[in-house]
């Protein structure tokens, strides 16, 4: 069964993020930014359309769309 977008959210594994900024540059909704440690951070979760492009272009598996129950 296909997973509904309602059950998904963007997860960040900060310890694997190398701060390259690729996901931030190409997020179609511009909802990602850097935190004070130079790692990626979700700035505006409400406007994330859960397109998954951040996950597909992250070279480090540090950001991904996953189930909400996994938080």
């Amino acid at each position: 069964m296909a997973v509904s977008k309602d059950d998904l959210m963007v997860h960040i594994k900060e310890e694997w993020c190398k701060g390259c900024g690729i996901c931030i540059a190409y997020c179609p909704k511009k909802v990602l930014g850097f935190n004070e440690h130079g790692k990626v951070s979700m700035l505006d979760r409400d406007n994330c359309i859960k397109c998954g492009m951040c996950e597909m272009r992250c070279p480090d598996f540090a950001i991904f769309l996953g189930g909400k129950e996994n938080v």
Binding site: W16, G21, I22, M56, R57, P59, D60, F61
Partner: protein, 270 residues
Amino acid sequence: MNNPLVENYFRVDKLPHIWCPGCGHGIIMSAIARAIEKSGLDKDKVCIVSGIGCSSRAPGYMDFNTLHTTHGRALAFATGVKLANPELEVIVIAGDGDLSAIGGNHLIHAARRNINLTTICFNNNIYGMTGGQYSPTTATGDKGTTAPYGNIDRPFDITQLAAGAGATYAAKATVYHVNQLQKYIEAAIGHKGFSMVEAVSVCPTYYGRKNKKGSAVDMMNWLKDSFVDMKIAEKMPEKAVGKFVMGEYVNKVEPEYTELYDQVIERLKG
């Protein structure tokens, strides 16, 4: 918590990987895992083979049968694996140096034989691992540690090289155009015969610094602006002027090597 893709297809204890920040190789490795997942392959029936280079470190992170061999020789080892065990899906990961310099001979003959291997070339246009020497895909005029005044060689188009040598599937996409890249890798895995996908990568550390290409994002922007889809190039040639064309260059059916080999054995059994 990890991405389920990572849990299912990677050796989590070996991560994070050693590649530099913004190295395109991680994007390709992740596209390969997603393509394998989409293809519905049994993990135990997949064998990933590499040579030596930054790109060739990928199989160390991937949780399949894996073989990390010698520089340039991944296709020779893979040919042996495939002939001994034709039901394995054998995927070769190779850098542009690995595949088209020291290993160029293996590439043209694997393609000529049309043996059912899937090769993914991580093409960052430079020797990353050894510190930025120019490779057979470095553009004319670009710099490397071995071309401090600019490269005078003409570069190979690896996709066309494979196609010219007889590959029955050959496609090209970039780490910016990652949806397309994944789609071609999936098609290459499903293809019977020698298939090669040229995944145009970025090496911000050596190629980027040597050639003043800026950050990883700047290099990805360059890919975005410099590559045009084959379908668009065919319909509107004016849009392709001065650009690289990505797409499926070849996709055809020809007799496959391990099947021909089996036929010989059957015939001689009498």
